[in-house]
């Protein structure tokens, strides 16, 4: 198995071998890194366990973030789902609630899997756990799908960026959403072309989203964007499974996203100097909460 460095090469490998993206990615890992196939799969199964635990922990009521801006939102969404028919349907309701909860776990110093980053760590667990619960996929299938997500994330990392400081939120939660969307499509039997088409749709629909965290903390608006990133992953997967393809191929869309990211002003790339972070209310919140211990000596 050869390495692949872009979507076109990945699709060529899938065609050549008749294998899904998850399997091609697993074989690439076997070839270029340490460990047997079984060890690599076990390591991913461990990551999946942590993701599931973070979803569960995120549904508790008492989570309180270090910066004090978020806590308990995931639980609220789930309470509404349990008491009435959610407006967005059960799967999306779960995905958004779980994604928001994982961000609470992250912000309160709990254990998460950065996928691809800590700030976007709610999207993949949110989507994956919601889809597993609603459609009954085995853990083995979910672990395979994490390799599909990993392939998409690898290509975006390699050819663009997944860092908010470099490409804005569109790069960070955009990548997480693209990874989740493509992986869900593979779970539902989509072809490798369709998987990358879904990922491309996600990047196109989140294009231009800036990174403007209040107080420079991974809390708000990050938490809500994890929820919309998760739901967007499902929306774009639904489009793809219905046969709606993205006009722009994945590789081109990655390049587009990168160029847009690089053209975002410095203030809108994780510096907390622009966007929501620079709003009057955000600055007041910062004064009260996040930066209260700024400077001086703390014993």
């Amino acid at each position: 198995m050869n390495n692949f460095t872009n979507g076109a090469e990945l699709l060529a490998l899938c065609r050549e071998t008749g294998l899904p993206i998850s399997e091609v990615m697993l074989q690439r890992e076997e070839k270029y890194f340490e460990g047997t196939r079984e060890e690599i799969r076990n390591r991913m199964a461990h990551s999946w366990e942590i993701m599931k635990e973070s979803v569960e922990e995120g549904q508790m009521e008492g989570n309180r973030s270090m910066g004090g801006l978020i806590g308990g939102e995931g639980h609220k969404i789930s309470e509404r789902r349990r008491s009435t028919e959610p407006l967005v349907g059960k799967t999306v309701s779960k995905a958004m609630a779980y994604a928001m909860g994982v961000l609470e776990v992250n912000a309160s110093m709990g254990l998460i899997v950065a996928a691809p980053t800590a700030g976007s760590s709610g999207v993949i667990p949110g989507v994956f756990c919601a889809v597993q619960e609603e459609f009954g996929f085995s853990d083995e299938k979910m672990v395979s799908a994490l390799f599909t997500a990993g392939a998409i994330g690898y290509l975006i990392t390699r050819n663009a960026t997944v860092a908010g400081a470099e490409g804005g939120c569109q790069a960070e939660i955009g990548a997480a959403s693209a990874m989740a969307s493509g992986a869900v499509c593979e779970l539902f039997g989509a072809s490798p072309e369709e998987v990358l088409s879904a990922a491309s749709s996600v990047l196109g629909t989140m294009l231009g989203l800036v990174c403007d965290p209040i107080g420079g903390l991974v809390e708000a608006p990050c938490q809500k964007r994890n929820a919309t990133g998760a739901s967007n992953a499902l929306v774009c997967a639904e489009m793809t499974l219905a046969g709606v393809r993205n006009l722009i191929p994945f590789d081109e869309m990655v390049e587009v996203m990168y160029k847009v990211g690089r053209s975002l002003p410095y203030e809108l790339r994780e510096t907390a100097l622009g966007g929501i972070a620079a709003s009057r209310t955000a600055c007041e919140l910062c004064g009260k909460n996040c930066l209260k211990n700024d400077g001086g000596i703390n014993l």
Partner: protein, 222 residues
């Protein structure tokens, strides 16, 4: 360029909230912890740049303290670092330096003292994605990531020390990936940093210490 692994993208597994301000910070302190010969009793952290401005909301302080106690980036005890350090009788302080401009934005200086009064001072940078590098040990400029199996030798700057080190590694059948020597002034203290392929046996430490010019040896296995 090192290839990107699937676990660089689905990972690292870490205590939040930030790969650079929490996981990376912890890694710097963990490297400092591994450079010490006895457990820490007193530690002072000076935070620079973005660390100094946002450390509280990112739990950078708890992560640093956790690293000094040897916690890994996925250790759930990090959240309770203060309490655990208090229980262990470790004294700690955090200071912010927001005036120094000529530093990497996520820099910390750690001065740690063990129970015998021996002081280790390091400067480290959190460089993104949970990765970190040590830039200084006891005032001498270095560059240590701790990604590979690493031996750090503190030595006198005299002829023959490197020959001794490489001979010891050869006898243990260890392949050297990278070897760097750092020093400040001629004939004073110097550091040799060897990154190796495969495992390093603990017996290597005593073997390397067999000559008087070798002052201290630490294996850093992260």
């Amino acid at each position: 360029m090192r290839e990107i692994s699937v676990f660089d993208v689905i990972g690292p597994n870490m205590i939040g909230p930030s790969s650079s301000h929490t996981a990376g910070a912890l890694r710097i302190a963990l490297l400092a912890h591994r450079l010490m010969e006895a457990p820490v009793k007193r530690v002072r952290f000076i935070l620079y740049g973005s660390f100094a401005r946002t450390y509280h909301g990112h739990g950078t302080d708890r992560a640093l303290l956790g690293g000094m106690m040897g916690f890994s980036p996925e250790d759930r005890r990090i959240r309770s670092s203060f309490q655990l350090a208090d229980e262990a009788g470790i004294r700690y302080s955090f200071e912010c330096n927001t005036t120094e401009q000529d530093v990497h934005p996520n820099t910390v200086k750690i001065t740690a003292e063990d129970k015998y009064g021996k002081v280790t001072e390091v400067v480290g940078e959190s460089i993104g994605g949970g990765n970190a590098r040590l830039r200084q040990i006891n005032g001498i400029n270095v560059d240590i990531a701790g990604e590979l199996q690493t031996v750090v030798v503190q030595q006198l700057d005299t002829p023959g020390v490197i020959a001794h080190i490489t001979q010891c590694l050869y006898e243990e059948g260890i392949n050297i990936a990278y070897l760097n020597v750092y020093r400040e002034n001629r004939y004073e203290h110097a550091y040799s940093v060897i990154e190796a392929d495969g495992d390093l046996p603990d017996s290597l430490v005593e073997k390397l210490k067999n000559i008087p010019a070798v002052l201290q040896v630490n294996l850093i296995k992260l």
